[in-house]
């Protein structure tokens, strides 16, 4: 079933690409969330790593918001599955979308006879319009940090001015005030430390999308100053080649990463390669967007939209350069702890 889900992702991509500009502006439609669910994309956590990554890659080539919903929905189900069967059933077990709130500004947890009472603020949470449930991560419980699952209707969501990526998910500030949470909805914290993450497919797919959109646009583009065909500029041709080469390197490393990860290899070198893919893919995309000049700033420019969505995926904590590269260095040098002495 999960392999079918990956094929379905590729099948949905063309239609999602056509609606990407609209959903970015007006918000992600319920019908597309339902399509993602029907395609099994919220249940891919049990599939091999490569299937998860390839599903996200296919979506990311087309539409950032679709990718975000699939990745977040699947991560939520994966987490609920680890918590307990009741919670998994409550959030719909992947038949419905469940969102995740992380990196709270502050949380206060008070024990009560029925479970806990929670106060906290999560500054940036997406997908709330389509989620009955939210996993509230980063809740401080004494010396520990836990996550809890709560109905979105019990929380206060408010809008804020936002100009970053993946706008279609409608980022909002989420507040919990004296929120009662029964004990069975309390679980371990989501593991957001540096690790192998299928979202790497979204990064590669997002950068590939930038390349495709840039190439299409540049073939037809006339320079604002001088009125020349931009495609005829030698430096434009060379930069395109540089980004193509970057993406080729990414694809080679990515293929090896999928193969290693499916085979159960999750060592420091694989983790390092993952971070290197992200940086190289971003480099490819940055170069192309910069080459567009002031036109690259325009909000209606598809390359700009694809780029800002890519930035969100590339900033996932699991792709943290410092952690990934220092971990490889430690492994090479036989140092076990993460001492920070200069």
């Amino acid at each position: 079933m999960t392999n079918t889900a990956a094929q379905n992702a590729a099948g949905l991509a063309e239609a999602f690409a056509k609606s990407a500009a609209t959903t970015d502006r007006a918000g992600y439609p319920a019908e597309q969330v339902a399509q993602l669910a029907q395609a099994g994309l919220f249940k891919i956590h049990a599939a091999p790593f490569s299937v998860q990554a390839e599903s996200l890659r296919a979506l990311a080539q087309a539409c950032g918001a679709s990718t975000w919903f699939a990745a977040t929905g699947a991560a939520a189900v994966a987490h609920a599955a680890k918590a307990n069967a009741d919670v998994l059933a409550e959030i719909g077990a992947g038949d419905r979308f469940c969102t995740i709130a992380s990196a709270p500004h502050n949380t206060t947890l008070t024990r009560s006879s029925a479970g806990i009472r929670l106060d906290g603020v999560w500054p940036s949470v997406g997908g709330l319009d389509h989620a009955e449930w939210v996993i509230l991560d980063g809740v401080r419980d004494g010396d520990q940090v836990v996550s809890v699952i709560a109905p979105t209707s019990a929380l206060k969501a408010s809008e804020f001015l936002y100009f970053g990526g993946v706008r279609g998910v409608k980022w909002r500030k989420l507040e919990a005030t004296a929120l009662e949470i029964p004990a069975h909805r309390i679980g371990v914290k989501l593991d957001a430390s540096a690790r192998l993450d299928p979202l790497i497919g979204a990064v590669l797919g997002g950068a590939e999308g930038v390349y495709t959109l840039y190439t299409t646009s540049t073939k037809a583009r006339i320079s604002g100053v001088g009125g020349h065909a931009v495609a005829r500029f030698t430096q434009v041709q060379a930069r395109l080649a540089e980004s193509h080469a970057d993406l080729k390197v990414c694809r080679a490393l990515y293929a090896e990463l999928l193969s290693n990860t499916d085979a159960g290899k999750a060592d420091a070198e694989t983790q390092r390669d993952q971070a290197y893919i992200v940086r190289t893919a971003m480099s490819a995309a940055n170069r192309l967007l910069s080459q567009m000049g002031a036109m690259g700033l325009s909000e209606t420019n598809p390359v700009q939209r694809q780029y800002r969505d890519l930035r969100v995926f590339a900033s996932a904590p699991s792709f943290n350069w410092d952690a990934s590269f220092a971990a490889f260095g430690r492994a090479e040098l036989g140092v076990e702890d993460a001492s920070r002495a200069a």
Partner: protein, 341 residues
Amino acid sequence: MRYFVPRRLGGYEMDWGVQIQIGRTLARYCASTSWIACVVGSHSAYVARMSPQAQDDVWKDSIDVVISTGSVMRNVSVKEAKGGYILNGRWSFSSGVDHASWVLMRASITNDHRQSYFLVPRSEFTIEDDWYVSGMSGTGSKTVGVKDTFVPAYRVISMTQMMAPNPPGASVNDSVVSSASFRLFAGSALLGPIWGGAEAVLNEYRALMAQGAAGQDVNDPQCLLRIAEAAAEIATAGRLAEGLIDRQVQAALSAAKVPKSERISNVFERTYSARLCVNGASRLVNSLDTSLISSDAPIQRYYRDLLGMVQQIGVNWDRNMINGAKAMFDLPTDIPDLNAD
């Protein structure tokens, strides 16, 4: 807006460079404000070089007027008419135009690369609501257009005349900015906002580190190295900008001919200064995780604004570096100042 308004009209008639320092300071807080104050504010220097009659038209009622420019042309045409010209066309990226009383529109009378500035009042141009951008959205750099607009000859000045020493305005204004070769000052006004914009990112990142934002730890040597490297890059960019501006001012004061090699170097340094600012800021922003990237954290805006500013053609890497290198071999370039000996 009074920086270069003639003193005889109540303006400040300042030395070149002061507005750049003001722009730097403002950009640490709001790049769009800085851009309007520094870059758009510098347009008064253009008008102060035009005919006295044109200056009177612009400043007769107020010396606090905003003067925008239209440089990127779309279907622009000029026809000669009795006493002036009939102008048609559209110009993109006219910063501050919502508040502008006048726009200096570029067009070619001879229908070739030789251009002139046409000074057009607010009553004669339309504004298209088309500035929806990822950075510098506050500048409102919209498209302006004119249709069969008559521009009297005294409100037109060729680029050659505008840039040469002793333009028409020098007959009534005393300042060096009004009388020296204007090419000496080319592009440097951009550097104040860009430098300050990079400093805004640096300052905000430092605050995030101090707060212990995700992935940013004051005890982590990697984070410390990152902020040190960025601070060094941005400070170096600033030193380059200051040196460049100082040389520009000294050259204007001395009225000495600036050797071609130095003019080439000025273009390189201006462009490289902007590149260093972006490199420093990018180094910091690229290390932020999703909790900041998908938020309304101020560093987001500072960085987007910085990326927006460096798209200005005056600091465009390819254009300036390639043309500068062409000039090294005495090849013709797209930068007029580099074509002269």
